[in-house]
């Protein structure tokens, strides 16, 4: 069997080769789709191999090339990395099945380009996950932005172009103006960029500078969608729904909060960060984003836009919990990376299914649709309950830990934010469930329809089930995380 090091490098190589294969097989759609599936399954297998290596105590570190004296492109694995990699690669398999149904059902053009860019984006996500230092992470982070641009602007019309401009504009501005200077400043102050237990900045920075650096990172990682650098998320909703589902509910946004969490734990170090003045401002900012984004979501009629603002809100849960610096809250934050992924991808899958089956995209059109599309809307209900945080869904588990963390440090602000946002979430999700199942159709549809194509229903059923299973079977993840916090 191959070594964990080799498997880790292959997680970036295999999707890249897959992209080439997909490009070459463009003329035979079924074989091309098979190529995507094979690549996705192989990738997941490789990630499992790395997980086994991590659990078995293998030493996992690969230095690829020295970019500058003292800083190289290097990869390693730790609990956060493997979590992110598993979520992204596992859900890619499901999304590929879904995408087949969606792209063919909606009659989208340029499908080869779509699948190729998807594969490249996944390779970049793996690079972000397994990076051993900030420079490597930055490189793959930028590749992720650039490779998702063709996906966001897939439709090629004026709206897609405008959405793409906002997307690229905000993300590139954040990266170039804030993130890159923050990284270089870190390098000049600490002499290294390696992710290290306990951080690398303690003792290397004046107190006021540390605050500034923290906020440079917070705003620089635009993919974390903390306000005011959040507008790229709703703008990216012009993309076809599989893109919104995997990339903007899972891979891209999780790359953002993953980066922020890595910076908090391995660059600053939780102990040092506690001593940085005005660190709690970060908590307040994230808390504000949670509530404000939920409030905006309440007023949206377009399903995907509502889900986009919900995502912004949920991402700030993670950021807020990370910045709260309580052990239980850290656990909750990492749990939420997984929980939110399962729930949100289900919701986006449903949005796409409704679009393909009924050609509807607005919430006001959803009256009575539960009777025509029972499986789809049940999955929606499960995903929505997960967002609200109701047992027995995944969202409940992470919320439990975050609340426990808030009590650990008597952080009443976090508590209030959680209560308020739970109410708001209920306010915009529950009415949809209600009107889908219990209100009669306002007008009969133009064309009678049933469920969406089978691949799509299969996919959303799978993720909804995962959302439920996570409630019961989150033990392994908890163990993984305890090594993170304990270390």
């Amino acid at each position: 069997m191959i070594s964990a090091n080799t498997a880790m490098i292959l997680t970036m190589v295999v999707p890249s080769l897959g992209a080439i294969a997909i490009a070459l097989l463009g003329r035979w759609p079924n074989i091309r789709e098979a190529a995507t599936m094979i690549t996705a399954v192989t990738l997941f297998g490789l990630v499992i191999r790395v997980l086994l290596g991590l659990n078995g105590g293998e030493f996992i570190y690969v230095e690829a090339v020295q970019l500058f004296p003292g800083v190289s492109i290097a990869f390693n694995t730790e609990p956060l990395s493997i979590l992110f990699a598993m979520i992204a690669s596992g859900l890619w398999i499901v999304t590929s099945v879904y995408a087949v149904g969606y792209m063919r059902g909606a009659g989208e053009k340029h499908q080869t380009r779509f699948y190729v860019c998807f594969a490249i984006a996944l390779a970049a996500a793996m690079g972000v996950a397994f990076s051993a230092n900030l420079l490597t992470l930055f490189i793959f982070y930028e590749v992720l932005t650039l490779s998702t641009y063709p996906l966001v602007t897939h439709k090629g019309d004026a709206k897609a172009k405008a959405g793409g401009r906002t997307y690229l504009g905000i993300l590139m501005t954040a990266s170039i103006v804030f993130f890159l200077p923050a990284i270089i400043w870190t390098y000049v102050a600490a002499g290294t960029l390696e992710f290290t237990q306990g951080g690398i900045l303690a003792g290397n920075l004046a107190a006021g500078s540390a605050t500034l650096l923290l906020f440079l990172f917070l705003f620089g990682v635009g993919k974390g969608a903390i306000m005011p650098f959040h507008r790229w998320l709703p703008a990216a909703m012009v993309a076809p729904t599989p893109v919104s589902a995997l990339l903007h509910a899972v891979a891209v946004v999780k790359a953002g909060v993953f980066t922020i969490t890595k910076v908090v734990i391995y660059i600053f170090g939780t102990d040092y960060l506690a001593s940085v003045p005005y660190e709690s401002l970060a908590v307040y900012l994230a808390g504000f984003t949670v509530v404000a984004a939920s409030a905006v979501a309440l007023r949206q009629n377009n399903i995907k836009r509502m889900l986009a603002y919900s995502t912004i809100s949920q991402l700030s849960y993670i950021i807020m919990a990370t910045m709260a610096l309580a052990p239980f809250a850290e656990i909750g934050a990492v749990m939420h990376i997984a929980a939110h992924a399962f729930g949100k991808i289900t919701l986006f899958f449903v949005a796409g299914a409704i679009y393909v089956a009924a050609k509807k995209s607005e919430i006001s059109q959803l009256d009575g649709i539960g009777l025509r599309m029972p499986y789809t809307m049940t999955a929606f209900a499960i995903g929505a309950l997960s967002m609200i945080g109701v047992p027995p869904t995944a969202g409940f588990v992470s919320k439990w830990f975050i609340i426990a963390g808030a009590f650990q440090l008597d952080n009443y602000f976090v508590l209030m934010v959680l209560i308020l946002s739970t109410a708001l979430n209920a306010g915009y999700f529950l009415p949809i469930i209600f009107r889908a199942f219990f209100k009669p159709e306002s007008e009969p549809p133009v064309k009678a329809h049933g469920e969406a194509p089978i691949p799509m229903v299969l996919a959303l059923g799978t993720t909804a089930t995962l959302t439920l299973l996570f409630f019961f079977f989150n033990g392994p993840l908890l163990d993984l995380e305890l090594t993170l916090i304990g270390g």
Partner: protein, 492 residues
């Protein structure tokens, strides 16, 4: 032969130029010019290897010992630049065959190749020589050749652009000459190493300080430092594509090198930064040039002109690095000198390919390029990413060092200026990429550019990516060169 390397680089083209000029048509002028250029490239590679291993290479022209004879003195800084000049020329000449045939015409093509050889040898000569007056001689050779080359452009404005460049360039060269004259009066020598030895005793004299001012100003004009850059946009826009590609990537870099040589080697950093207000003058001008040129770029309808203004901005980056006065800043400047040459060479050649098929380089002609000329379009995208400074490209390497140099000094406003410049680059490159990707082409029947244009373009794009990942060659040499230069005139 190895002992004569520096002079061979210059001698080959010098002998070939008149030969090529009198040839009548056919492939011979192009073939001879290309072969001679490749020979010079080979020599510069050998020279770099030699200097990297054994230290400064000193060559006495004609066997006359310095400081009375002319000395060619090659250390790491100019070896790197020589590699860039000859390397770019080697890639651009094969490209020029078709491009020049279309833009200049078969009858004038031999004159093009002759002038191109003269320009290249002039630039190489400036780089390789250790004698201040010799710099002027080669400066005039390369400049006169450049004026002729620009005038060969298709548009009638090429003539006026060439003429105004001629006037400004001559003023610049004359300022430089006056400065050299003052130095000669005060020291009795023209050899740079000798000057470096003699100047410290007399550096307080008004003559020497005036000489410094004249030299820096004269070079600043050739460098296109704001506000002495007015000749550049027109000259770059109306010259033939192959000329802009070579000139845009090398001519200003050579002027940068001369500036560095005088500031650090001849006058020495303590005098230039300590006694003279060099940093106080250069930094504001560099910043204004950077920001204003980048902003103007955004609005240009002609993409070639847009890239010309972009070049003025990039010169601002390089001068900023020099003006920092630290080894890290100088490393960044030398790195960007090399990397920008690669970037702009690739981008201007890409535009030349567009001009070959589309007849021009306006934004209108870039519409739908992704569909009609995909290879050309993607070359522009990658070159543009390099200009923006995306990781894994050479642009990122330069940007990293530049920001690091500014952070080390604690110059946070300068960091802000550098990143704002990058953001503006995103906008002006993004504009072209959007037009090529989203808009419908005017004529969907257009074909891709011919292979002999595309292969040189992609060689340079590959170089952009290769040197963005394997930075050992550029970074190690730039760092070592910076250390050598900071040590001053008579470092071994």
């Amino acid at each position: 032969m190895l002992t004569h390397l520096p002079v061979l680089i210059v001698l080959g083209p010098l002998l070939a130029a008149p030969l090529v000029a009198v040839m009548r048509g056919g492939r011979w002028p192009w073939a001879i010019a290309t072969l001679v250029t490749w020979f010079s490239f080979l020599c510069s590679m050998l020279l770099l290897a030699h200097v990297a291993n054994y230290g400064v290479f000193s060559y006495a022209l004609g066997g006359w010992e310095p400081p009375w004879g002319i000395e060619y003195r090659v250390d790491l800084a100019n070896a790197l630049l020589l590699l860039l000049i000859t390397g770019l020329a080697s890639v651009i000449l094969p490209y020029a065959r078709l491009s020049i045939r279309q833009e200049v015409g078969d009858d004038k093509a031999p004159l093009f190749y002759s002038a191109q050889l003269l320009q290249m040898l002039g630039l190489c000569g400036i780089t390789v020589t250790g004698d201040a007056f010799n710099v002027f001689v080669f400066l005039e050779i390369s400049s006169l050749a450049t004026y002729a080359l620009i005038a060969m452009g298709r548009d009638r404005k090429a003539l006026t652009s060439s003429f105004s460049y001629l006037v400004m360039g001559t003023i610049g060269a004359t300022f430089y000459l006056i400065g050299i004259g003052f130095l000669y009066v005060m020291t009795g020598t023209l050899n740079m190493a000798d000057l470096a030895e003699r100047l410290p005793e007399i550096q307080d004299s008004a003559t020497v300080r005036t000489a410094f001012a004249f030299i820096v100003t004269g070079i600043a004009l050739k460098l296109a430092l704001f506000p002495l850059h007015l000749w550049l946009p027109n000259a770059y826009t109306y010259a033939p594509s192959a000329v802009t590609a070579f000139m845009g990537a090398t001519a200003t870099k050579v002027a940068v090198y001369v500036l560095i040589r005088f500031i650090f080697t001849v006058f020495g950093a303590p005098f230039s930064f300590g006694q003279e207000p060099l940093a106080e003058v250069l930094i504001p001008l560099a910043i204004i040039g950077l920001l204003s040129a980048s902003s103007v770029s955004v609005a240009q309808p002609n993409i070639k002109r847009m890239l010309a203004y972009s070049s003025v901005a990039q010169i601002g980056y390089i001068v900023l690095g020099i003006a920092m006065g630290t080894a890290m800043g100088l490393t960044a400047a030398l790195l960007h000198m090399f990397n920008h040459g690669l970037m702009k060479g690739a981008l201007f050649m890409t535009l030349g390919a567009v001009a070959y098929r589309m007849g021009g380089t306006n934004l209108d002609q870039m519409r739908g390029l992704a569909r009609t000329m995909p290879l050309t379009f993607w070359a522009f995208v990658f070159g543009g990413l390099s200009l923006i400074g995306v990781p894994l490209t050479v642009g990122f390497v330069s940007k990293w060092y530049l920001i690091m140099a500014a952070v080390e000094l604690g110059w946070w406003p300068v960091v802000a200026v550098i990143v704002v410049g990058s953001m503006l680059a995103v906008i002006y490159i993004g504009r072209v990429v959007e037009a090529g990707w989203f808009q419908e082409p005017d004529n969907p029947e257009r074909k891709e550019a011919p292979m002999s244009l595309l292969i040189p373009v992609w060689i340079l794009i590959a170089a952009n990516l290769y040197f963005g990942i394997d930075t050992r060659l550029t970074v190690d040499i730039a760092e070592a060169a910076a250390v050598q230069l900071m040590a001053g005139g008579n470092a071994p």
